[in-house]
Symmetry: C2
DNA sequence: TTGTAGGCGTTATCAC
DNA sequence: GTGATAACGCCTACAA
């Protein structure tokens, strides 16, 4: 395998100085057309390709890369976020380096460190449920940093979140308006910020509707759709609930599987829309968040800082909206 | 914002030479414990962080990054692939830089060039349907390169694919065995390699079952689930087909939407499993491919080459398997 | 318009 | 064991 040709090789081949090649490569115009032609020919002949890594170590130059760390790239929620970030970054000439923390605090920290060592220009992070490190202990300089889908864990960082509590409240109220009196909350661990917020919204809605929170109707162990299916199956068997608020995608699907298994269903509203939500019978009502907008907003925030935006850090809470498709109503008999 | 501290700063602070700091940072052992302690303290005090970009320009050193270019990170198929690649890469200490080509040839090429300029150590690509550039014209050195989900477009590269034709054949034969005689093919453009292969498998199965390919039953315009829904809706209305082979995920979901709309269904087998396939009534039969295995295989192939594997380039075709859940059978009346 | 000198942060060589 | 010194590939002053 041949060595990568360098600017020096090109300069020698074109019989000009290194600097002139540099000018040519960087698109500067003040070059004698004749030399420019020789340089162009040499570049083609040698197959010269810039070494952006080398260029980026000069002061003022950067890698034009931003880093994104979240729990799991295979989760459609995060891959949608990542895609939105990528679109905005790409339009500004930035590459995107993505790393999955697996929701493990130490792993998350290692990945962040690695990206900082790689000298990414900006960083977007979704911290794991048990954040290990205090950001205020990370030595400066820290590149522009945005917390996504989580509140900022660092005073110098922006944050972009959805209105998880509001969305959960809307969903719960919709079930209540449809006549439910014993609404179950099915979701993942309250260690997760979004889950805490959604449960708070659920509780607020119950209070507004004059109902008390019944702890036996709060399920926070639905880490997979199978676990959600078992939990909702139990609710069906002992007839303890008359409606289900599924606080995430996996819970919604688990509930639907339990309904299918039992041959009967409860009124249901889920958090987050999904591709086949229209295929349910009835179609599944959901609280939807604009995931792409969240990703774009986070990316624009980072890029804005890179362009010199020095406005005070802010936390942007994006709205959710309720899409009622029928599943919030009781089964007709 | 403070400047990033350098090894020189650490050396000065610890009153040792640059090289000794380098030794310390790189975990070499032949250092006086006293100096090591001073260096460690200086690193903490100054908040020193290695600059891997700078390190990577030394000959023999690399960025420990691999690049992945495909059409769309938001597509669950690709994000699953990406996650598998990331897992393997991460375990070997490599970061992953991901770029979406949007199925546009020139864009794909630009992204590849950018990654080469960034000096990624390896490259995994899913070329777009209209590949613009001839890889044999890309000047060497080219880092280890693997084509994923597509045959190799470059003689020096490995490839990892699923048995698209075999899977499509199995699906079509299953429909035929269940009694179908006019099986429609619903999919995306034959410009896409996987679609071509799947149609070939479909045609082979028809031939084996003694049926002819009826072009009016081949739909290759289902780019979105809505288009698939319309196409299958038309098939239902004019009663031209008695079964559907949906050649990708979107087509499967479109077909299900059309069935729901029409209030009746045709026997159906889809290509690629999906999260809610069990929720159908009946549950949806599919040809499944091990997407994670594909991603892992591609990543291991790249890493193997980086470790010095010089075995001849190869194309690995991974098996698919048919999961029959009921939807391949006719509706009972 | 072109070229020389120097430095970016790191690692390698090779004396001490 | 330690440290000058010279690279790596590129870019910025500053001269010519």
């Amino acid at each position: 395998m041949p060595r990568n040709p360098t600017m020096n090789d090109v300069a020698r081949e074109a019989r000009v100085s290194l600097k002139t090649v540099s000018r040519h490569v960087n698109g500067e115009t003040n070059i004698d057309p004749e030399l420019a032609a020789r340089i162009g020919a040499a570049i083609v002949k040698l197959g010269y390709r810039r070494n952006l890594s080398a260029a980026s170590i000069r002061p003022g130059r950067t890698s034009k890369t931003i880093g994104l760390v979240f729990s799991d790239l295979a989760n459609p929620y995060y891959s949608t976020l990542a895609r939105a970030v990528e679109s905005v970054a790409d339009a500004a000439g930035y590459l995107l380096t993505i790393a999955s923390s697996n929701e493990e605090g130490p792993r998350h920290d290692r990945l962040v460190d690695r990206l900082l060592e790689q000298r990414v220009d900006g960083l977007i992070v979704v911290p794991p449920r048990h954040a290990a490190r205090d950001w205020s202990e990370v030595p400066p300089p820290i590149p522009p940093l945005v917390f996504l889908d989580r509140p900022a864990l660092f005073s110098g960082a922006d944050a972009v979140l959805a209105d998880n509590a509001g969305g959960a409240r809307d969903a719960t109220l919709a079930l209540s308006r449809a006549g439910a009196r014993r609404i179950a909350f099915v979701g993942d661990s309250p260690d997760i910020h979004t889950m805490r917020e959604r449960h708070a919204g659920y509780a607020a809605a119950l209070a507004e509707a004059g109902m008390a929170v019944d702890d036996s109707l709060t399920i926070t162990t639905a880490h997979t759709k199978e676990q959600a299916e078992r939990a909702v199956g139990a609710l069906l068997r002992d007839d303890s609930a008359d409606a289900v608020f599924a606080a995430n995608n996996r819970s919604t699907i688990g509930a639907l599987l339990a309904f299918q298994q039992a041959g009967r269903r409860l009124p249901l509203v889920g958090f987050d829309d999904f591709e086949t939500s229209l295929l349910g019978n009835p179609p599944v009502s959901v609280v939807s968040q604009d995931i792409e907008l969240m990703g774009r907003t986070a990316a624009e925030s980072v890029l804005g800082r890179l362009r010199g935006d020095t406005s005070p850090v802010s936390t942007r809470v994006l709205p959710t909206w309720l899409i009622l498709r029928g599943s919030e109503k009781p089964e007709r008999n």
